[in-house]
Assembly symmetry: C2
Homo-oligomer: 395 residues x 2
């Protein structure tokens, strides 16, 4: 099988189990086993967790996601350039994927105005009027020096009608083309990432295209075709988990993922729960990001092998068991539900820190299990048992 | 020299440099080198830091303080008993000192009513009417199973007049006697700490008395005499850093610390900045606790070898230096002021986590330096240089 290989990225699939694939994504920042979950580090920090913990064997995160929109507005690109790029600024030497800002601006809703050229919006930080376009997004992502750059797209609402979605999808396609042209220009000229060492950007970044089309399968297929025609190092499914029914989400994944180029990494953006991840892997997806483990960790919700668990529930008041008896993470090795509940009820920061750690450990460990199962040809059994256990809910 | 030795506590002084002393405090939870700084874990958590970090070589905290008042109100003693005591409840196997609740209740101000019997107050958690007395405080601290128990005291305001202070000091003395009687009863009967293993409390806890007297040196000396007459395993100076001038605080320490029993540990409660600690060591103090490194860490203030540094200051926007160029902690090894400022300005939890870690590392490292200097007879030089560097302020 031919696999994608650019100066910036190599992707090798080394096991399959029906549509599920296990492989290795190699960036200049090291190897990433797939399927992979990427913790979300919006503003250059995965909320509530230290980088040392992300690197620890408990988590062993090899790639995190950061948000172009947020970093562009604060601290601003000049600051990150002066530090020598995002890796140096935040102190993370592993791979970084940055989104393009398209989704973030879209989620501002009324605050934005979309034209052919790009999107005008008001900064959530200082209210100033800002403008983001495919070209600007590529420039910003070059300055960030991310290892995987996302094309600038527009996202239609999950329940958008056919006409609205078609218009939006075609705009995304034109923006994808402009993204690629701008990206290639920046790569060719070895754009200034501000990196201190005499390291050229040429061929250092990879670019992923994004398939849109909301819940309309015909438009999704056209969007896939348009995106593949332009040609990217990897392909993402965007515009899911944005208000549509879960059944619709899986319909789209099932329709699109297997049709995406076999040899390129496939990235499902912003999804989902652990069971969503396993189900999407079964449909051929390789990469994921989601705020659930971190965001829900901050509000007292733990993901466990037996389902979700709200640590504030009074039934845990005297429960000496760990969050998840099947989990070997440092939180489960040390702390009881009773203690974690106490921390949460007392509004202690440590509650967020510990739940975030456990949740990320659970997501990343689930992906480890998935990879192992695919490699040993046991994925259908893994999937069945994983989903079965979730019904034995801890609550 | 005769040193204090009870079943629960052994204290050995192994070096002196003028009034400054270095020694080892041995509890059944291990050895603690003195002078020692105790991080404050009010509600059973040192805010913003994991226990693994407290145990890491960066910090190597051997004893932390918890607040009887807070834990008594939430989660309540039943919950902690059910878990088998505070160590088990929070997952900390090293030494724990608990305050008596006296100071906490005092700091409620108008919400409390003090009688000979004890203090009536409204819970800050649920507004319920509660009553704390020497006997109840001892019972609660027995249930917590803390290694060092503090006598129940009343604290006069820093600027209290002679008469008010005298009344308060005499009450503290009577409460100290009642504390000791209650404590000894609990120790003798092997009170139920709820510990799961068949471990008796008998002789497992040590009790410290507290010297009060506000800024009145004559009353301070009487209070010391009264407290020593009752007889405790260690002696604390309470009621400082509560609104009095810093010069007054040092006057009291200078007057009282050297007169405290030579063979027992001397504990200065709730003090202070790194320079306060070094100055108090020079006057013969062995133990400290203070919320400064954790509380100020959460508001963006770093303690460094060159003075305090407010990380929000715009001058750090592009500063690639660590918080403290002389610090070897994991935060200073990895992160720049520019990044920490960004986190703080963005309201990211990681700002608090990292500043708390660094501040605790700096406090604990300062105490390591102090101990080393005393042992090598270089304490006056250490003290001079330490204070001199602070003037070369980073701001």
């Amino acid at each position: 099988m031919r696999n994608i290989e650019t100066p910036a990225l190599r992707f090798e699939i080394n096991a399959r189990d029906s549509e599920a694939r296990a492989g290795v994504l190699t960036t200049r920042r090291g190897q990433i086993e797939t399927p992979v979950f990427m913790p979300v580090g919006t503003a250059g920090t995965v909320k509530g967790i230290r980088f040392e913990e992300l690197e620890s064997p408990d988590l062993d995160a090899r790639i995190i996601l950061s948000n172009t929109y947020h970093l562009w507005l604060r601290p601003g690109i000049d600051v990150i350039k002066a530090a020598g790029g995002l890796h140096r600024f935040i102190g993370w030497d592993h791979a970084l994927l940055t989104d393009s800002g398209g989704f973030q601006v879209w989620s501002l809703g009324a605050l934005r105005r979309i034209t052919e050229d790009g999107t005008e919006f008001r900064s959530h930080v200082d209210g100033s009027l800002r403008f983001l376009s495919p070209e600007i997004s590529m420039e910003v992502q070059a300055a960030l020096g991310s290892d995987i750059v996302m094309a600038f797209d527009e996202c239609a609402p999950g329940k958008a009608g056919h006409e609205e979605t078609e218009r939006s999808m075609n705009l995304t396609s034109r923006w994808a083309k402009r993204s690629k042209i701008a990206f290639e220009g920046l790569q060719a000229e070895g754009a200034d990432t501000g990196r201190v060492e005499a390291e050229s950007l040429s061929g250092a970044q990879a670019l992923f295209g994004i398939v849109q089309g909301a819940a309309h399968l015909d438009l999704r297929r056209i969007s896939l075709e348009q995106t593949v025609d332009i040609g990217f190092d990897g392909y993402a499914i965007g515009g899911l988990s944005v208000g549509e029914e879960k059944s619709v989400m899986f319909e789209v994944i099932e329709e699109i993922a297997p049709r995406m180029p076999q040899e390129a990494p496939r990235y499902l953006m912003g999804v989902g729960t652990p069971e969503d991840l396993v189900e999407a892997v079964a449909r051929g997806v390789d990469m994921f990001d989601c705020v659930l483990p971190t965001r829900n960790g901050r509000t007292g919700q733990a993901f466990t092998s037996r389902g979700k668990l709200n640590i504030k529930n009074a039934r845990w008041t005297n429960d000496s068991r760990p969050l998840d008896e099947s989990c070997a993470c440092s939180v489960c090795r040390r702390h009881s539900r009773a203690y974690l509940r106490h921390l949460c009820m007392s509004g202690e920061m440590l509650a967020s820190i510990l739940l975030t750690h456990h949740n990320l450990a659970f997501f990343l460990d689930t992906m480890r299990g998935v990879r192992q199962a695919i490699r040993s040809g046991d994925f259908p059994k893994f999937r069945r048992e994983f989903t079965g256990r979730l019904d034995a809910n801890g609550e």
